[in-house]
C-alpha cells in the first residue's frame, strides 16, 4: 500500500484524466500486453489503480491546437533565427567592434552561458505557468535582440546576447512542454516535428539573408537583429488567444486544494521517483549533443580547410543540404507516432552517426552533399523524439523543470564542450589528433555503444497519454514492473 501511495503521488493517478484513458486498465485499453518502460519486456500481471474522479475536458479543439502550433512555430522559427545570427555573422561583428580574435573568443563564453542560466527561468514554468513564462520569454528575447542591434561596443553586445540567450533557452523548453501537454497522444509527435522543423528553418533564413547580402546594407549585421523584432508583433496580436495548458491548470488546482506543495524545489526532479529517467534521458542528451554540436560547429571550417571547398560552395551546401535535411524533423515526428519513440530514436541515432562519419571522411563533393543532407536529416532531425523523452516521462508538476534540467544542463554541456573538444584535439598545430574530420568521426564512434542504452533502457510511450506514462513510470520506480 505504501508503494501504491507513493506511486499515486508520482503519477497523480488520483487526478482526472482524459476520457479515452480514464477508467480502463492499460491492458484492456490497448488490446495487447502492456510494454514496460524497461526494455519493452512484457510486464507482469498488474492492474493500475482505477481512477474514479470526474473526467474533465483535457482535449483542446483542433482549431485551438492549430493556433497554438502557429504561435509556437513562429517563436521556434525566431529562436532558430536569433540563435544562428551570432554564429554566421561573427566576422562582421568582429570587424565593426575592432576586436582581436582572443577577445572575440572570450566573449563567447558568457554569451553561451546564457543558455545555462535559462534553466533558472524555465523552471518557474512549473510554478507560475507555461503561458506567462512563454510570453515573457518571447518579450525578453525580442527586446534584447533589438538592443543587440544598438550595441555600441563588444561588451554591450555580449551583455545583450547573454540576456537574449537566457530567454531563448527558456522559450524553447517551455514551447516543447506546451506542445507535449496540449496535444493528445495522436498528433503529439507530428506537432513536435513541425515545431522543430521551423526552428531549423530559422537557421536557413539567416543563411538566405546572408546570401542576399543583407549584411552589406547600411546597418550591416544590425539589420539581422532588427528583423528579430517580428515575434513581438506576432505575440502582441495573438497574445490573448494563447491559453494556459489544461494540465498545468489542473495541477494548479491541486496545489490550491492542498494536494500538492505550492512550490517545486530546485532538486525535485532528482528525487528518487524521477531520478532514473532524469539520469537516463539527461545523459543521452549530453552524449548526443557533444558530437552533434562538435560537428555542426566545425563542418564549414572542415570543408574549407581540409577538403578544399570554396566559401561559395560551403554556403550553397549549407543552405541546400540543410534545407532538405530539415525534413528529418518532420519525418521523425511522424515516425515516433507510427513506429514508436524507441525505434525512431535508435534509427535516427544510427543514421546520424553513420552519415556524420561519411561526411567527415569522404573527399568526393557529391557524396559529401548527400552525406551532409542525411547527417542533418538524422543527426539534427532526432530532436523531436529527444524532446518527447525529455518531457513525456515526467509528471506535470515537474515537467517544465525536468525538461529544463535536461536541456539547460545536460544538453548545453554538449553544446559548450563538443565544439571545444573538436577545436582542441583537432587543432592543426597543437591538437593531439590534428585533424578536424578525424576528431569529429572519433567522437561519433564513441556515440555508437550508447545505441544499446536506447534499445535497452528507453521507455516506449507511443500512443500513451501523459497520465498513462506517468502512471507506468511510477510503477517502474516503485519496482512493480521490471
Amino acid at each position: 500500500m505504501r508503494l501504491i501511495g507513493s506511486l499515486a503521488r508520482y503519477s497523480n493517478a488520483a487526478r482526472p484524466r482524459p476520457p479515452a484513458a480514464a477508467t480502463l486498465p492499460a491492458v484492456a485499453r490497448k488490446g495487447r500486453p502492456q510494454q514496460t518502460a524497461v526494455g519493452g519486456l512484457p510486464s507482469p500481471e498488474f492492474e493500475p489503480p482505477v481512477v474514479t474522479a470526474s473526467e474533465p475536458d483535457l482535449i483542446r479543439s483542433d482549431r485551438y491546437l492549430k493556433l497554438l502550433l502557429i504561435l509556437l512555430v513562429s517563436a521556434a522559427f525566431f529562436e532558430g533565427y536569433d540563435g544562428s545570427i551570432l554564429a554566421l555573422l561573427l566576422p562582421n561583428i568582429q570587424s565593426t567592434f575592432h576586436v582581436s580574435e582572443a577577445v572575440l573568443g572570450l566573449t563567447r563564453i558568457p554569451i553561451e552561458l546564457g543558455l545555462f542560466v535559462a534553466f533558472f527561468i524555465a523552471r518557474f514554468a512549473d510554478r507560475l505557468g507555461r503561458r506567462p513564462l512563454l510570453l515573457w520569454s518571447v518579450v525578453g528575447y525580442t527586446i534584447f535582440t533589438a538592443l543587440t542591434a544598438l550595441s555600441w561596443d563588444i561588451w554591450s553586445f555580449t551583455l545583450f546576447q547573454f540576456m537574449t540567450r537566457i530567454f531563448l533557452g527558456a522559450e524553447y523548453a517551455i514551447g516543447v512542454t506546451m506542445i507535449v501537454e496540449e496535444y493528445p497522444a495522436v498528433g503529439r509527435g507530428r506537432a513536435l516535428g513541425t515545431l522543430l522543423t521551423f526552428n531549423a528553418l530559422g537557421t536557413i533564413a539567416v543563411g538566405l539573408l546572408l546570401g542576399a547580402n543583407l549584411q552589406d546594407g547600411p546597418l550591416e549585421w544590425r539589420t539581422f537583429y532588427l528583423i528579430g523584432l517580428v515575434p513581438l508583433l506576432v505575440l502582441s496580436f495573438f497574445r490573448r488567444r494563447l491559453k494556459e495548458t489544461r494540465r498545468f491548470l489542473e495541477e494548479k488546482q491541486r496545489r490550491e486544494e492542498g494536494h500538492a506543495t505550492e512550490t517545486v524545489p530546485f532538486l525535485e526532479p532528482w528525487k528518487p521517483q524521477y531520478r532514473r529517467n532524469l539520469v537516463l534521458v539527461g545523459t543521452l542528451h549530453m552524449l548526443r549533443s557533444i558530437p552533434l554540436f562538435g560537428s555542426t560547429a566545425w563542418w564549414a571550417f572542415y570543408a574549407e580547410r581540409e577538403r578544399g571547398f570554396s566559401a561559395l560552395q560551403v554556403s550553397i551546401y549549407i543552405i541546400a543540404a540543410y534545407g532538405l535535411g530539415c525534413v528529418g524533423y518532420y519525418v521523425c515526428g511522424r515516425s515516433m507516432e507510427r513506429f514508436g519513440r524507441r525505434p525512431t530514436a535508435f534509427v535516427y541515432s544510427l543514421g546520424g552517426i553513420v552519415f556524420a562519419v561519411v561526411l567527415f571522411q569522404v573527399s568526393d563533393k557529391t557524396v559529401s552533399f548527400f552525406a551532409l543532407m542525411l547527417a542533418v536529416f538524422f543527426g539534427l532531425g532526432i530532436g523531436p523524439v529527444m524532446s518527447a523523452f525529455a518531457t513525456e516521462l515526467f509528471p506535470t508538476e515537474i515537467r517544465g523543470q525536468a525538461a529544463a534540467w535536461i536541456r539547460n544542463w545536460f544538453e548545453i554541456a554538449g553544446y559548450v564542450f563538443g565544439p571545444a573538444l573538436v577545436g582542441i584535439l583537432g587543432d592543426h598545430s597543437s591538437g593531439a589528433i590534428g585533424n578536424i574530420g578525424d576528431t569529429v568521426s572519433l567522437m561519433m564512434i564513441m556515440w555508437v555503444p550508447t545505441l544499446w542504452i536506447i534499445y535497452r533502457y528507453l521507455p516506449e510511450t507511443k500512443g500513451l497519454e501523459l497520465e498513462d506514462i506517468a502512471e507506468r513510470e511510477g510503477m517502474v520506480s516503485a519496482g512493480l514492473v521490471p
Binding site: 505504501r2 568582429q94 570587424s95 528518487p272 545523459t283 587543432d427 555503444p449 520506480s477 519496482g479
Partner: protein, 198 residues
C-alpha cells in the same frame, strides 16, 4: 527533511564528481596535446592572419598575429591588388602535409584571392618554415615541388588518427555506456529503496 538533506548531499557529491571528471579529462587532453607543434598549423594561421590584414576593423590585430608567425611582408605577393571592400583577402584557403628536413618545413598551400568582379583567382605554392623555439615561423614563399599537394588535390592531410585511436574511441564509448548503465541501475535501485522506505 532528512530526505531533502540527503538529496542535497548527493547532488553536491555529483557536482563535485562531475567537476573532478572534467578537470581530469582536461588534464588528459592537455597531456595528449603537449609537445605538438605542427608546421602545417603555423602556416595555416599565418595565411589566415595575412588574409585578415585587409579586413575592416581587425587589420592591426591581423598584422600582430602575422608578425608573430613570420611577418606580413612575406605574404604581400598573395594579397589581391583589387580593393577587398573591408573583407578578408582570401575567401578560402587550404594547406597540405609538411615535408620536414633539418629544421625546415615545406607546406603546400592553395587559396583564392578575393576579386571584385568575376571568379576569385587561384593561388598555389609552398610556404617555407623554419623552427623558432618550439614552434615554426614562415620564412619565404616558393613554387611547389613534385609531390607537394593539398588534400583536395589528392595530397595527405597534415595529420590523421591512427588505428589505435579508432579502436580507443570504441573502447571509450563502451566505457561511457557501462558508466551510464551503472548510473541508471543505481538510480532505479535508489528510487525503489526510497519508495519502499516511505
Amino acid at each position: 527533511m532528512n530526505a531533502d538533506a540527503a538529496l542535497k548531499r548527493q547532488f553536491a557529491t555529483a557536482i563535485v564528481a562531475a567537476l573532478a571528471v572534467m578537470i581530469g579529462l582536461g588534464g588528459v587532453i592537455a597531456l595528449a596535446n603537449h609537445g605538438h607543434h605542427r608546421p602545417e598549423g603555423a602556416a595555416e594561421r599565418w595565411l589566415t592572419a595575412v588574409g585578415d590584414t585587409t579586413r575592416k576593423g581587425v587589420k592591426a590585430d591581423a598584422r600582430d598575429r602575422a608578425d608573430k608567425l613570420g611577418g606580413v611582408s612575406i605574404g604581400q605577393p598573395l594579397l589581391p591588388t583589387d580593393d577587398t571592400k573591408g573583407k578578408s583577402a582570401f575567401p578560402d584557403l587550404e594547406v597540405g602535409k609538411a615535408r620536414v628536413t633539418a629544421g625546415q618545413a615545406r607546406v603546400p598551400y592553395r587559396l583564392h584571392q578575393r576579386a571584385q568582379h568575376g571568379k576569385n583567382p587561384l593561388k598555389e605554392g609552398t610556404m617555407v618554415l623554419a623552427r623558432s623555439g618550439e614552434g615554426w615561423k614562415v620564412t619565404s614563399l616558393d613554387a611547389r615541388q613534385p609531390g607537394e599537394k593539398v588534400p583536395s588535390d589528392g595530397g595527405q592531410p597534415p595529420s590523421s588518427a591512427g588505428l589505435g585511436l579508432w579502436l580507443g574511441a570504441v573502447g571509450v564509448g563502451a566505457l561511457v555506456t557501462v558508466l551510464i548503465i551503472v548510473l541508471v541501475e543505481w538510480a532505479t535501485r535508489s528510487s525503489q529503496r526510497a519508495l519502499a522506505a516511505s
